[in-house]
Amino acid sequence: MNFDYNEEQQLLADSVRRFLQKDYDFEARKKIVASPQGWSAQVWSQLAEMGLTGLPFSPDYGGFGGGAVDLMGVMEAFGEALVVEPYLPTITGALFVARGGSAEQKRAILPAVVEGRMKLAFAHIERKQGEKLGVVGAPMADKLVVSSGSGLFLIDSARGEMKPYHTLDEMRAADVVLHGAKGEPLGGGLELIEEVVDFATALVCAEAVGAMKFACDTTLEYLKTRKQFGVPIGTFQALQHRMVDMYISYEQAKSMACLACSKVDQAENSVERSRSVSAAKIKIADSARHIGQEAVQLHGGMGMSEELKVSHSFRRLTVAAQQFGDADHHLERFASL
């Protein structure tokens, strides 16, 4: 039993955090969000340089062969900084290739992803056949991994017709129409989808925990500095207790993110893995909502403003609560397993 990151994981998380503090502060992020493409090529190449785009892939393709726990600290740091680059979509898409692709497909895709030359997105949710909704990262993706009744396909994103938009949490996504688009089949069916989506869900849990940490820290700071009635508002018990509940909510969520990432890496079977991931996502969704809403409330009017990062963390937490299924979805799945 051990709940720490190992030395390597800790060093990596620390260096990612240092990089983000230096080159990805809230002002820098604002500029990226406001840019036409909505992501920074420079940041992306830095992430690749730090080895992040290769973390979960085999050394055969230039990666590091890591698991979800190896990515956990990185995702927490991304959550704290509210990184908008399409890291999770790319990792998710490439995991399908790594686990379901042919040797040839792996050779064509994985080294390019690891080196930061290629971005992917995973198109799963459907309005009707051939029309995929809410594909995060699609506008900047080179290739899409697309699920369909007859399996998984790899499609050049240029072949799809995209309706791009900004998501509630300031990322870029698109609805994609794929009628007649030619794709190459990827191996693996429903089981692989469950496996990779569980992996991605565990990473969302870790990222949300990072955003929760930021929301808690910044709210605590605000309670100590904001004065009303001549005293810091953190001296009021009504607010103290709400802050404590946010803190407990964060610790409980962090525990569940640990569970999800660990079980994704080493569950005894797929039922144990999926049950743990769904349990984690239920808690993360509840905590994300609780902490996000309270962070805004305890900031008063300032919590509503565009100007402060706290409102942006609320936006991210709101979407993270629903990403890869909201609490209701996972309650259903948890009970069925």
């Binding site: 709940f3 100590k224 103290q240 802050m243 610790e251 525990s255 569970l259 349990a279 009970a335």
Partner: protein, 376 residues
């Protein structure tokens, strides 16, 4: 990161589990299973079985009967006791008075009291709360005025759990009513319940159970050798106790057992999605609490330090979960309570409301985290 117990820890757990399966008396287990009242004799019988095995006070130093287990083993042991449905070990002697004596007591006090606590020969209760002093404990008024080689005690304690079973009570009393800082006039005193002037009067709770009492002291003579630590230092003793052994407040094993039983007898209700989802959410909270608890243990084991003030969250979440489970059980059994089991679950729901009030109300726990952990 590795969330699993080591092979040695698993072997230890299996050993404890196998021993419990063999040695927990069937009639006691049945009483616990049916949520029936446990008599003093029931409690002591189980205490003595564990004492005979050498397992009744794992956290004590070895020379006094401790097992030498590390924090993780102690946690596993306590959780297994909860999980199997053993009668509770009453903490007032084993986990409250004894640690205080071990830390502050004289050799003579240790020799006099510890073996009797271990063997279950003395039943202890705790004299803290008073009618005017609940969360604001330092306002307590029970007086102990020194006259030569004895203290004369006058006043009243209340909510005194199992005082009607007790041979001894450890009390916080005011030995110096004149001291300016009110914490400084308080002392920690051991009082024989058979002393003339001690009166115990039952306080019935809403479930009809006689569990707590009022204890009155009228000119009770207490020899000065029953003072623990120095006179006027009782508050630091109380604070030490507060920070001691708070790792089992989450009661994970016990709640896991209740969850499993709830699933067992509410299988029909589980077809109701609304009920099922409420139960699932409690299960998720319990899983999160178990991991949070293990994270605290892991930190303690690595640093060798006692847990910080944030350990209060285990009490807050643990009791919230216990109450949520008791509520679901009561609802699953139905409101009428026509049969004995349903009636017991109804009473248990009422009784479990105490958990967020006792041992430092959850509001006080939040105050502690706000002040000590968050710096508010």
């Amino acid at each position: 990161m590795d969330l699993n117990y080591s092979a040695e820890e698993l072997a230890f757990r299996d050993e404890v589990r196998a021993w419990l399966a063999k040695n927990l008396p069937k009639d006691l287990k049945e009483k616990v299973d049916r949520y029936q009242h446990l008599s003093k004799e029931d409690l002591l019988r189980w205490h003595r079985i564990l004492a005979k095995q050498g397992w009744v006070a794992p956290a004590w130093p070895k020379e006094w009967g401790g097992t030498g287990w590390n924090v993780v083993q102690r946690y596993i042991f306590e959780e297994e006791l909860g999980y199997v449905g053993a009668p509770p070990l009453i903490p007032f002697g084993l986990a409250m008075c004894a640690p205080v004596l071990l830390r502050f007591g004289t050799e003579a006090q240790k020799k006099r009291f510890l073996p009797r606590i271990y063997q279950g020969e003395d039943f202890w209760c705790q004299g803290y709360s008073e009618p005017g002093s609940g969360s604001d404990l330092a306002s307590l008024k029970t007086k102990a005025i020194r006259q030569g080689d004895r203290y004369v005690v006058n006043g009243q304690k209340t909510w005194t759990t199992l005082a009607h079973y007790a041979d001894w009570i450890f009390c916080l009393v005011r030995t110096d009513p004149t001291s300016e800082k009110r914490q400084e006039g308080i002392s920690f005193l051991l009082i024989d319940m058979k002393t003339p002037g001690v009166t115990v009067r039952p306080l019935l709770l809403m479930d009809g159970a006689h569990e707590v009492n009022e204890v009155f002291f009228d000119d009770v003579n207490v020899p000065v050798e029953n003072l623990v630590h120095e006179e006027g230092k009782g508050w630091s003793v109380a604070k030490y106790l507060l920070g001691h052994e708070r790792m089992n407040t989450g009661r994970i094993g016990e709640s896991k057992r209740q969850l499993a039983r709830l699933k067992e007898f509410s299988s029909e209700r589980l077809n109701d999605v609304r009920f099922r989802d409420r139960l699932s959410r409690v299960e998720v909270e319990l899983t999160a609490l178990e991991i949070t608890n293990l994270r605290f243990l892991d930190r303690m084991r690595r640093t060798g330090q006692p847990p910080g003030a944030d350990v209060s969250m285990l009490k807050i979440k643990g009791t919230e979960i216990q109450q949520a489970l008791a509520e679901l059980m009561m609802q699953a059994a139905g409101p009428a309570g026509g049969d004995e089991f349903a009636a017991a679950l109804g009473r248990r729901y009422l009784s479990m409301r105490k958990t967020t009030i006792y041992a430092g109300s959850n509001e006080i726990q939040r105050n502690i985290i706000a002040k000590m952990t968050l710096g508010l």
